[in-house]
Structure formats: C-alpha cells, structure tokens
C-alpha cells in the first residue's frame, strides 16, 4: 500500500506528523495536498522546510496529488498524505487515489464548528465529506498520534453528527 497514512489535519506538517507519525511509519514521502498552498510558492516552501531531510516532501494540488499517489503505488513508495480538510481528502479518493483508510488527526475549533471529539470540530461541509468518504468505502478513524486512542468514525458517528450540525 503506497499510502502509509492518509491524514486530515488542519495544521498539516507539524510535530505530530513529522516526529510522531514520521518516526513510527518511516515514510519515503510526505505529500501535502492543497490547491491553495500548491499555488503559493512561499507557503509551499515554508511547509516543506518543516520536513526532516531524510523524508521527501511534495506540495501538490489535489488533482496532482491523486496522480502522484498512483505513481507512488507503482513505484512502491510509502507516502504520508496530508490534507487540511475532509473535503480535499474526499476529492483525492474520488479521483482514484489508492486510499483505504483515513486518519482524522486534527480539525480545530473555528466559528460555526461543532465538537465531535476534543480534537475534531466539524461543520456541515465536513460531515458531508465524511459521508462521501464512507460511501466510497473508506474506513475513518480519529487518532492524534501513534499509540494514542483510535476513535472509529463509522455510520453511527457520522449519522449522529449529521443530525447535530
């Protein structure tokens, strides 16, 4: 499996990812998928500079990331995929990227978001994206760090949030 971890985390590349998951999974590549950041060389450079030198890094649009994941699968690369939002992750899966499980690592509070877990706050758009991921056969779970508690986000949890938001 090319995708060692597909993670939704609005902090994108930070300590939990590079140190926590990075040391645990030893990926060949951290792939940050974001249309906005990929279009801004300065932002892309800042995020890329946070990755330890022993791990490769790429900052790509959502479309380009989906294509890159297919290449990685063919080449046997281990990739840690990051998106800031559930919607971007759902789009990557829809485009055919080889993703089976999605880790929800951090979706922080902002106005209009509802608490699902202490580190997962969602609005209607997020819940709709979670539903799309489930409908595409993705196994969803929330977990901040390796060894931390994994919270399944299955039909029951998503249905509950659809009623709340």
């Amino acid at each position: 499996m090319a995708v060692a971890l597909a993670r939704i985390d609005d902090r994108l590349i930070h300590g939990q990812v590079t140190v926590g998951w990075g040391q645990h999974l030893r990926p060949d590549l951290i792939l940050l998928a974001s249309n906005a950041i990929a279009a801004d060389p300065w932002q892309a450079k800042v995020y890329a500079s946070s990755v330890p030198p022993e791990i490769g890094v790429a900052v790509l649009s959502v479309h380009a990331a989906a294509a890159r994941l297919l290449e990685a699968e063919a080449a046997g690369e281990r990739v840690l995929l990051l998106t800031a939002s559930a919607g971007e992750m759902a789009e990557i899966v829809r485009l055919g990227a080889p993703v089976a499980r999605v880790n929800v690592g951090g979706m922080h509070f902002s106005a209009g978001k509802h608490e699902m877990l202490p580190f997962v706050y969602v609005d209607r758009q997020d819940v709709r994206a979670f539903r799309r991921l489930l409908d595409m056969g993705i196994v969803l779970a929330a977990q901040q760090v390796p060894g931390g508690r994994s919270h399944p986000l299955g039909q029951d949890q998503i249905t509950d949030m659809e009623e709340r938001v």
């Binding site: 609005d10 902090r11 994108l12 300590g15 800042v46 500079s49 946070s50 800031a84 902002s110």
Partner: protein, 129 residues
C-alpha cells in the same frame, strides 16, 4: 520599541515570560501565545494581529519552541512581506534575557544574530572535565 512574541506548544511560552518577569521585573513589549486548540490558520491570524498591534513599521521578533512545528510555520506565514521581522526557533531563557537586555542597542539584524548566538551558547554540558 522592538517587541517580541514567544509562541509555543502548551504553556511553555507563558511560563518563560512569567519567569523573566521574576528575574528582570516587569517588561513591556514581551508577550506569550499558545498554539493549543488552534488550527494553523488561527495561529497565523493571531500572530498577524499581534504584529498589527505594534507601532507601524516597528521591528518585531517571534520566538518559537520547535523548528518544524505549527508555531514556526504560522509565524513565518504571518511575517510574509513584513520588513524587520524575524522568527527564531529553539527559544530559551537566555534568548529572552538577551532580547530584553539588547533590544535598545544596535540595529535589528545585529540583534537577531546576537539572539541566535546567545541561544546556542546557553546549551552547554555543565561540570564536564
């Protein structure tokens, strides 16, 4: 006046600033911020607001705890396009002491260089023969 913001995980920054107050007494232009419970975008906006709260064009230094963490990334993004700002990682007491001691002397690039050197010099193995 050159200001500084110590932005860290948890309450590290708040405690560093509090302890500095115990050593040097009250000081203006030195504040702390935490990244707890905040997205990268929220942290970036908070740092921009702190920068905007200073005198227009006045230099500012941001001290962060972790080189590759969300505080560092957000601070760099917040400083984009602003002259006379610097983001330094690996904050320690010596750097903040140096900032409060030297901020009124010398030019801004020189102050930044001195703080980086001071932070590194503070890391020594004690008692080694």
């Amino acid at each position: 006046m050159i200001r500084a913001l110590v932005i860290t995980h948890g309450r590290i920054g708040e405690e560093l600033v509090r302890v500095l107050g115990m050593i040097l007494g009250p000081h203006d232009g030195l504040e702390a911020m935490s990244n707890s419970h905040r997205s990268a975008q929220d942290i970036t906006e908070a740092v921009k607001a702190w920068l905007d709260a200073g005198e227009p064009g006045a230099p500012a230094i941001i001290l962060v705890d972790d080189y590759g963490g969300s505080c560092a990334t957000a601070s760099q993004l917040a400083c984009a396009g602003r002259k006379d700002t610097a983001v330094l990682s690996g904050v320690n007491l010596a750097m903040i002491l140096g900032f409060l001691t030297w901020r009124d002397s010398g030019d801004f690039p020189d102050l930044v260089s001195r703080l980086v050197a001071k932070g590194r010099e503070a890391i020594v193995r004690l008692g080694a023969r």
